[in-house]
């Protein structure tokens, strides 16, 4: 029995970490909901990172209840991420216009949400443009509409709840909007019971008889030291944006008001640091705020263990959990309290990553996720109009519609007076068949994916030359505003060195740092390139592969050596690429032109360029010609496709 007990203890310990983490995450989420409900407009909003599921539903439900109880919210309005400008901001109300015979404006969702809360579903898919529009409205407290012949201003002050279902670092709410929302909660580790318990616990801890009004929140006194300490804490956590400390002040006030205090206390500031600053942290505080964690910092960097989160920090930070009340002795400086509070929220793996100085987030931000949704058929230069009904992304070409209706007016009016139907004689009668929608032409972006063979066989001869060629071509890409991506393969695997980006300086750096040597896993290289190309296609870009290799594969897809198997694998992947009709160009980097590369080029359906005694400029010239032929690649807008979508 004793033996068992010991084991059970160990098990419980191991199991406690995730359970504890879930409970803490849920508690934070509950607090965020409670404080947001007190002051939705002042705090801006909440980003909820979690997959759709019962836990999130429970949280949203609780939030709604609290919003109602607080009386700060006139209603929660759900907004889909693909909402068009007409609905978001407002514009012409077509039906009413036709009925009234004069332009009738329709207010958008944001104006209708004045005094309420906007719930953004699937916020990770929110286009940067839409995010920027919402952010502008948040800043100004009003919607400015200059569309469809209307110029309107309508008050719009609301809080935002963004439900972010993204996975991984490159799928998240656009920072332009996220920066303006005070809270970030992560419900990923929580179950539905965790959430319910957390809210119950919250009600016990902080029973509210009469929720404070936003005016009371503003009136809360905040000691000068708190302003300084929160600013300093933000700086220590490497949070660049100045909105973070400002929002933290607001949250500290809300926290005090919630407890019925008229003056904020250290606990309020600590809560603000925990809820606002902690999730935004991009670095560990440089000053050794707490000795306990300092001891932990060295262990994480064992190079092999990166994805699995090391357990020790998780357990270690858990006991430090109740940060607001530091354990006796002399009271520690305010800053340390705040930093400890913020650091306690950092998920343990993030802690490890941060202390290694990893920059995963910075990379995600810079990985060329440019703002405009390339695929939308409703953007670009208008090139006229066509028959059709305004629906989804299609915009009504009002004047063309009127023009279409105009010639029939006398006939229609006569018909109407014959039938003695009521109506004003001067109205213009527009019928369904008159509708015209605008057609747009948009520029398709080309993404050039370099697949560079850095294996021993290539490296010996030509790697330097190939690098030279790629560099020259990069300059070309710059002129055409193409995006570039870089995939290299050597040894037993391929690596995406650079996700599609327009930053050519980065591409150049990546390339320069590329080492050579090892086997030739062509299949793996092509497969990785296929992934990048597929993603580009989905974004509405045109991928172009530029493969630099000698074609002599000797490592198969599974990483095992063996020339025959490797060649067969390479051929198979090449044929997949061809079947997906991804255009490509193969540059043979072997010293003498040999059949291996040519065969691979055929399987790829690629143009084959031998590199006899290379002058890098010759290669660049041949690539340039290939892409230049398609030039600016102005493709007609897929109005039909958009109509279906």
């Amino acid at each position: 029995m004793t033996l068992d007990a010991g084991n059970a203890d160990a098990d419980a310990d191991a199991a406690a970490a995730p359970a504890m983490r879930a409970a803490r995450a849920a508690a934070d989420a509950a607090w965020a909901a409670a404080l947001f409900a007190i002051d939705p407009i002042g705090t801006g909003g909440i980003v909820v990172r979690s997959a759709a599921g019962p836990a999130r539903d429970a949280w949203v439900e609780q939030l709604t209840v609290r919003l109602q109880r607080a009386g700060t919210c006139r209603g929660v309005r759900r907004v889909p991420c693909n909402i068009g400008d007409g609905r978001l901001l407002g514009g012409l109300d077509l039906a009413a216009t036709l009925q009234a015979g004069r332009p009738v404006a329709e207010s958008g969702v944001l104006a209708q949400s004045d005094g309420g809360v906007v719930l953004l579903a699937m916020a990770e898919r929110l286009p940067a443009g839409t995010a920027a529009r919402i952010a502008a409205v948040l800043d100004r407290g009003e919607v400015a509409v200059d569309r469809d012949g209307f110029s309107l201003r309508a008050p719009a002050r609301f809080g935002v709840v963004a439900l972010d279902e993204g996975i991984g670092d490159d799928e998240r709410l656009p920072e332009a909007l996220g920066d303006r929302l005070a809270f970030r909660v992560d419900l990923e580790p929580c179950g539905v019971d965790d959430v319910r318990d957390a809210f119950e616990q919250l009600d016990v801890e902080a029973a509210i008889d009469a929720p404070p009004q936003p005016a009371q929140v503003s009136a809360v006194e905040l000691p000068e030291a708190f302003v300084e300490a929160l600013s300093e804490a933000a700086l220590a956590l490497a949070i660049a944006s100045l909105r973070a400390p400002l929002l933290a002040l607001r949250v500290a006030r809300a926290s005090a008001a919630q407890a019925g205090r008229r003056r904020a206390e250290t606990a309020d500031a600590a809560r603000a640091a925990r809820l606002v600053l902690g999730p935004r942290a991009r670095a560990l505080p440089a000053s050794p705020a707490e000795a306990g964690r300092d001891d932990d910092a060295p262990p994480p960097p064992p190079p092999e263990a990166s994805p699995p989160q090391p357990a020790p920090p998780a357990q270690d930070s858990a006991p430090q959990e109740p940060p607001p009340s530091p354990p006796a002795q002399e009271p520690p400086p305010l800053l340390d309290v705040l930093l400890a509070a913020a650091a306690a929220v950092l998920p343990s793996h993030l802690l490890a990553a941060l202390s290694r100085g990893a920059t995963a987030r910075a990379r995600a931000a810079a990985s060329g996720r440019t703002g405009v949704q390339q695929r939308s058929g409703a953007r670009g230069r208008p090139i006229g109009s066509r028959h059709g009904e305004p629906r989804g992304q299609l915009r009504l070409a009002v004047v063309d519609t009127l023009r279409a209706a105009a010639p029939w007016q006398r006939l229609r009016q006569r018909a109407r007076s014959d039938s003695r139907a009521p109506g004003h004689a001067r109205r213009i009668e527009v019928r369904r068949g008159d509708f015209r929608v605008a057609v747009y032409k948009k520029r398709s972006q080309t993404t050039v994916i370099f697949v560079v063979d850095a294996s021993g066989s290539s490296a010996l001869h030509r790697l330097a030359e190939a690098k030279g060629a790629v560099e020259l071509f990069l300059a070309d890409c710059y002129v055409r505003r193409d995006q570039v991506a870089l995939v290299a393969f050597r040894g037993s695997a391929a690596e995406i060195l650079l996700a599609p980006t327009r930053s050519l300086a980065r591409a150049k750096r990546c390339l320069a740092a590329l080492p050579g040597g090892g086997g030739t896993p062509i299949a793996a290289g092509l497969l990785a390139a296929h992934g990048v190309a597929g993603a580009a296609l989905r974004r509405g870009e045109i991928p172009l592969l530029v493969v630099l290799t000698d074609g002599k594969a000797n490592v198969g897809l599974d990483g095992s050596p063996g020339r025959e198997r490797a060649m067969a694998d390479a051929q198979a992947v090449a044929r997949q690429l061809r079947a997906a009709s991804i255009r490509s160009l193969l540059i043979d980097s072997s010293p003498r032109a040999q059949p291996a590369a040519r065969t691979l080029a055929e399987a790829l359906g690629a143009e084959y360029v031998a590199l006899p005694h290379a002058d890098a400029r010759v290669i660049a010239g041949s690539i340039g010609g290939k892409v230049g032929g398609r030039g600016g690649s102005e493709a007609g807008g897929h109005a039909d496709g958009a109509g279906r979508g």
């Binding site: 978001l88 940067a128 503003s218 810079a366």
Partner: protein, 347 residues
Amino acid sequence: MAVPFPFSAIVGQDDMKLALLMASVDPSIGGVLVLGDRGTGKSTAVRALAALLPPMRAVVDCPYGCAVESPAGLCGTCRGRGVKKAPLKSHLVPVPVVDLPLGATEDRVAGALDLERALADGVKAFEPGLLARAHRGFLYIDEVNLLEDHLVDLLLDVAASGENVVEREGISVRHPARFVLVGSGNPEEGELRPQLLDRFGLAVEVRTPTDLPTRVEVVRRRDAFDRDPAAFLRAWHAEDEKLRRRIIAARRRLAATEVPDATLERAAALCMKLGTDGLRGELTLMRAARALASIDGDRVVGDRHLARVAPIALRHRLRRNPLDDTGSNVRIERALAEAFDGQAAAT
């Protein structure tokens, strides 16, 4: 709309503030581009400028706010009215600072057929757009890199020609539209086309301050403003007023501010050294230096003024080598040091 944050209460960001002030002293400098980090007060500064600018005199009932004192720049209507000998009536109006909201459609930007009247009365009338409203003032585009291409082209064209020509939907209208284009954006959201960059007279980079006292001051002021805007405005009223008087005085002095040949040569040498394309760079450099001198109350433009404005006026015009990631500021500083040191040694 809520009251704007007072301009003089903006902490730091000296380049941005200076660029905006110079553009309001001499609009011919041609536009300001503000690129940089989030939450650095880009929009705040532009909107604050609107409240700061001294009012201007405009023709009563003119949709374009024509200036009485310059008959050449009048719109068609005002010119027609002027013929009848009766002097045009004018009144003081605030300088327009027009916000171009994202999602604006071309018909509202350039102006279009007045739908209401077309539908109701069958009359073909022109309804002026945002460009008309921005005449003689500022046109501000937040997140300029998210603006749709065809709108950007339209804006650049009008900003360059000073005239808006609308030829569509059966109407044919041209009206003056001279405005200072102010764009702001975050480079992370997508780069700007080089053509667009070149059209802005001045370009400033804004960075989040990284020293604690500055950051605390920013947070403190913004917090005070958010809690009680009226009191905050009162507290800063005197400062804003002082700045306003400086702008008025600088405008008055501008024409009399002298640019000696030596300074012009120095400016040309600097541009050559940096290899900026075209004369636009030199012209802007000279105008900006003159505006700075008149703001500072100096009668003669000297090296000090050139050196101060060179980064703002030239940064975005450097011929870019895509593979050279040396910061443009570094290049300009280097060129400045070389140009001026050589000169100093010679004299």
